[in-house]
Symmetry: C2
Subunit: 119 residues, 2 copies
């Protein structure tokens, strides 16, 4: 399986729909932390199922940690970027520089992670 190559795997991993956007939202949050509901409302159009699945994947791969506060009801869930999560943001910044320079598909982009954004 050539699919098994490390770089390829990583790229395919973060390219799953919504994954990169979730990472960027966490990066923007204070302490690189966001609640489930915050992510849900930031990421227009995402479904709970997908958000939940992506977060679970990210936790599993160590890019994000999860903390549940059940002192209150309903319980709150907070998700935070880990060290590896922060480091992959740096790689993504490099990718962003490339994409702004070369404009895949000449897309005019007006949303969060472009010229004016955090990256």
């Amino acid at each position: 399986m050539q699919d098994g190559c490390t770089v390829n795997l990583t790229v395919r991993y973060i390219a799953r729909k919504w994954t990169l956007l979730i990472l960027l939202e966490l990066y923007k949050g204070g302490d690189h932390t966001r609640r489930f509901s915050e992510l849900k409302s930031c990421l227009t159009g995402i479904t709970q199922k997908v958000l939940s699945a992506r977060l679970k994947e990210l936790v599993k791969e160590g890019l994000v940690t999860k903390r549940v506060d059940d002192s209150t009801f309903p319980a709150k869930s907070e998700y935070t970027l880990t060290e590896s999560g922060l480091e992959i943001i740096e790689v993504i910044k490099g990718m962003k520089r490339w994409s702004l320079k070369w404009k895949i598909a000449n897309i005019e982009c007006g949303c969060q992670d472009c010229s004016q954004c955090v990256l």
Copy 2:
């Protein structure tokens, strides 16, 4: 469409199955050039249909140029990395460093683009 974000688009673009592997094969070739049949035999398991489709996409987005030599029969087709193609390889190197450090899914990887490879 949050999908429209530049970085996200770029990542999803090169994460299509085989795309990254094709770029790496071209990078390894002399003058960053490879023939269709060479790519076909290097990339074990790829079908002509998919190889053809990916190359067409890469040419369209300007990462690769195509040159046809029809002075002979059958005609030969050569594909070469462009400047933007070469630059994205550099970004991919950054991604590779990350993936070797953090090992997505703890995959043991023995193939071309890992520790011993060109990247």
